[in-house]
C-alpha cells in the first residue's frame, strides 16, 4: 500500500573542527552519525531528540544545504547525492522546508505576497501568479488583504502560516518541518498542527516532522524516531512507541510529558536522566547513551548495539539497545 518516498541510508554528517594558524583539522563534530530510515508516501515521520542531537543537521542535509560525509539519500528510489546542479534544482521543488523560527525565516524587507511567490518565480511559474498566491494564502488561513503586509505586521502564528504557504507553493511531495511550532505559544501550536494535518489530508503531503517534544509529535505522526547524539535510538509506529517504548532514553523522554489530569499527574513517576549530554565531537564509546543510562553495564561501554528489530514480539519496532525494556517500565521507574 505504501511506497517509499524518502530513504536515508546510514547518513553521516561530520563537521571538521579547524584550529590553529594552518587550519588543521583537529577533530570532528559528529552531528549525524549513521542514521537510516524510510518515509513512505502520505506518511508523517516524527523525529525527536534533545537540542544538539543532530535533528536540524539531518533536515539541512536532506534539503541539500549540506553535503553529507557519507551515506545515501534516496528520493523516489533515486540517489540525490549524485545529482548535478541542474537536476538538483529540479528536485528541490519536491522537497520543501518549514523553519523553526518564524521571525528569522522571513525576509523583513519583503511583503507577504512576495515571500510566498518567491519559489514560484524561481521556477518561472509566473502565469496567474497573484491568483496562485492568494489561493495559497487562503489555504493556510491568511486573508487576501495580508498580501501587501510586511512580516513584522504579523503575529508569530501568522508568520508561520506564511512560511507554510511558501513551502506549499511549488506543490512539493515532501515537506520537512524543522520544529515548526517550537517558537509558538501553546494555543497557537495546536492551530498550526491542525492546519498541517488538514493540508496533509487535502494535498496528500508527506511530512518529516522534527521536534524536541514527544507530546507535540504524538498527535501528527504515523511513525516516530528518537535521536540521541546523532544516532537513531528507536524507531517505530507511533502507537507502539508511546505504549511500549523499548529504549531507556525514550522512556525517560516519555516520563517527562505532563499528564493533563491532576490526580494522575501527581502519581506520574519521572525518570530523570543524570549527567550532561556528551559532546558530539567526543561521543562515548560503545552505546552512546551508556553515560546516562540507568541500565548501562560494562558491556554497553565496549560494544555498539545494532539498530535492530524483534519481529516476533514487536514487529516494525527498531531499537538500538542491548537490554530493550519490554513491558518493564514499572520496574525501571522504581530504580
Amino acid at each position: 500500500m505504501s511506497e517509499s518516498l524518502l530513504e536515508i541510508r546510514d547518513l553521516k554528517m561530520h563537521f571538521p573542527m579547524k584550529q590553529g594558524v594552518f587550519q588543521r583539522t583537529k577533530n570532528e563534530v559528529k552531528a549525524v552519525n549513521g542514521v537510516s530510515f524510510t518515509v513512505n508516501k502520505g506518511e508523517t515521520l516524527g523525529i525527536v531528540g534533545e537540542s544538539g542531537c543532530g535533528k536540524s543537521t539531518l533536515a539541512r542535509t536532506i534539503v541539500g544545504l549540506l553535503k553529507p560525509t557519507s551515506g545515501d539519500i534516496l528520493f523516489e528510489g533515486e540517489s540525490i547525492l549524485q545529482y548535478n546542479a541542474k537536476e538538483f534544482h529540479r528536485l528541490r521543488r519536491n522537497i520543501q522546508m518549514v523553519y523553526q523560527d518564524p521571525f528569522t525565516s522571513l525576509n523583513p524587507r519583503m511583503r507577504a505576497g512576495d515571500i510566498i511567490s518567491a519559489p514560484l518565480k524561481a521556477y518561472n511559474q509566473t502565469d496567474n501568479l497573484k491568483n496562485r498566491v492568494l489561493e495559497l494564502m487562503d489555504l493556510v488561513g491568511l486573508k487576501a488583504e495580508d498580501y501587501h503586509k510586511l512580516p513584522h505586521q504579523f503575529s508569530g502564528g501568522q508568520r508561520q502560516r506564511i512560511g507554510i504557504a511558501r513551502a506549499l507553493a511549488l506543490n512539493p511531495k515532501l515537506i520537512i518541518l524543522d520544529e515548526p511550532v517550537s517558537a509558538l505559544d501553546v494555543s497557537v501550536q495546536a492551530q498550526v498542527i491542525n492546519l498541517l494535518e488538514d493540508l496533509q489530508e487535502e494535498l496528500g503531503l508527506t511530512y518529516l516532522f522534527i521536534a524536541h517534544d514527544l507530546s507535540v509529535i504524538r498527535h501528527i505522526s504515523d511513525k516516530v524516531g528518537v535521536m540521541y547524539l546523532g544516532k537513531m535510538m528507536e524507531l517505530s509506529e507511533s502507537e507502539s512507541l508511546y505504549k511500549n517504548a523499548r529504549h531507556p532514553y525514550t522512556n525517560a523522554l516519555l516520563s517527562a510529558i505532563p499528564i493533563p489530569s491532576s490526580a494522575r499527574e501527581k502519581k506520574r513517576e519521572r525518570i530523570v536522566l543524570t549527567g550532561e549530554l556528551p559532546s558530539p565531537s567526543e561521543p562515548p564509546s560503545g552505546c552512546v547513551f551508556h553515560t546516562r543510562c540507568p541500565f548501562a553495564t560494562e558491556f554497553c561501554k565496549g560494544n555498539v548495539p545494532a539498530f535492530d528489530v524483534d519481529e516476533d514480539n514487536s514487529p516494525g519496532h527498531y531499537v538500538s539497545c542491548f537490554y530493550p525494556m519490554d513491558n518493564k517500565r514499572e520496574e525501571f521507574a522504581r530504580q
Binding site: V63, G64, L65, N107, P108, A122, R166, A167, A169
Partner: protein, 285 residues
C-alpha cells in the same frame, strides 16, 4: 530622522550650499574671477563680505564657486566607491571561494594610507578633476568593501537566506532581493562618511599642489594660494577653511544621524526614554 534638529540643520546647510553654488553666476554681484588690482588683499567689508585676495577677487564669490568642485568630487567619489564597494563586498561576503581572493587585494589596497595612495595616483595620472575622482575612489572603496562584506557575512547566515535557497531561488536574486536590502543601512552611512572624507582629501591634494589645476577655484587651491598671505590677510585662508570644516562636519553629523536612525537598538533606547514626554505633548495638543 530629519525631524531632529541635530540632523535638520546640517542637512539644510548642505542643500543651501548646493543651491547657492550652482546658481552662483546669477546672483553674485561681482564675478568671482573679476580682478581689480586696486582692491588687493582688502579686509572684509560690506562690499566684499570675506575680503579680497591677492588679485583683488572677491573671496566670498570664490568660496561659493569653489564648493562646486568640492561637492562634485565628494559626491562622485562617494557614489563610485559605494557602487564598487557594494558589488565587491556582496561577492566577497557571499561566495567563500572568491572571498579570500578579493579580500587579499582589498587588504593590499588598504595597506597604503589613503591620501598617500591618492597622491601617488594623481602624480602618475596628472592633476585634473577626473583623475582626482579616480584616485580618491581607489583609495576609498576598499573601506566600503570591508564594511559591506562584514554585513553580508552576518546577514547570509540568517534563516531567510537559507529558506530562499531551499525554495530554489537563484544566487543573483538572493543577493539583490534578500541580502542587499538588509545591508543597505551601513552602506548609506559609510557612503556619507566617504563623501566627507573625499572633500577633505580633495582639499588636501589641492593644497599640496597635486590636485585640481590652480586656475579652477577649489577650497584646497584657495588655501594653497593664501599660504603666503597668512599674516597679512588672514581672511584669505580663514573663510575657505571654515567652509571645509562646516561642510565636513555637516556630513559627519548627518552620517551619525543616519546610523542612529538605522540602528534598531539605539532607536529602542531613545523611544523608551522619550515616551513620557511624547504623551504630555499629545495631551497638551
Amino acid at each position: 530622522m530629519l525631524r531632529k534638529k541635530r540632523n535638520l540643520i546640517p542637512f539644510l546647510f548642505l542643500i543651501l550650499l548646493f543651491l547657492a553654488t550652482i546658481t552662483a553666476s546669477w546672483w553674485l554681484p561681482v564675478s568671482p574671477s573679476f580682478m581689480d588690482s586696486s582692491l588687493r588683499l582688502m579686509a572684509p567689508s560690506s562690499e566684499h563680505w570675506f575680503g579680497t585676495d591677492h588679485f583683488g577677487r572677491d573671496i566670498f564669490g570664490q568660496t561659493i564657486i569653489a564648493a562646486r568642485v568640492s561637492l562634485l568630487v565628494g559626491f562622485t567619489v562617494a557614489l563610485l566607491s559605494t557602487i564598487l564597494g557594494t558589488v565587491t563586498g556582496l561577492i566577497a561576503g557571499y561566495y567563500k571561494k572568491l572571498d579570500s581572493i578579493i579580500m587579499r587585494i582589498i587588504d593590499g589596497m588598504l595597506a597604503f594610507p589613503s591620501l598617500l595612495l591618492a597622491l601617488a595616483l594623481v602624480a602618475a595620472l596628472g592633476g585634473s578633476i577626473t583623475n582626482i575622482i579616480i584616485a580618491l575612489t581607489f583609495s576609498f572603496w576598499p573601506v566600503m568593501t570591508r564594511v559591506v562584506r562584514s554585513s553580508v557575512l552576518q546577514v547570509k547566515n540568517i534563516q531567510y537566506v537559507e529558506a530562499a535557497k531551499t525554495s530554489g531561488v537563484k544566487d543573483p536574486v538572493i543577493l539583490s532581493r534578500y541580502i542587499l536590502p538588509n545591508v543597505l543601512s551601513p552602506i548609506i552611512v559609510q557612503g556619507t562618511f566617504i563623501f566627507a572624507k573625499s572633500i577633505l582629501a580633495e582639499a588636501a591634494l589641492s593644497f599640496l599642489g597635486v590636485g585640481v589645476e590652480p586656475s579652477i577655484p577649489t577650497w584646497g587651491n584657495m588655501l594653497q594660494e593664501a599660504q603666503i598671505y597668512m599674516t597679512m590677510a588672514p581672511w584669505f585662508s580663514i573663510f575657505p577653511g571654515i567652509f571645509i570644516v562646516i561642510t565636513v562636519l555637516a556630513l559627519n553629523i548627518l552620517g551619525d544621524g543616519l546610523r542612529d536612525a538605522f540602528d534598531p537598538y539605539a532607536k529602542g533606547k531613545k523611544k523608551a526614554k522619550r515616551r513620557p514626554f511624547k504623551r504630555k505633548e499629545q495631551i497638551a495638543s
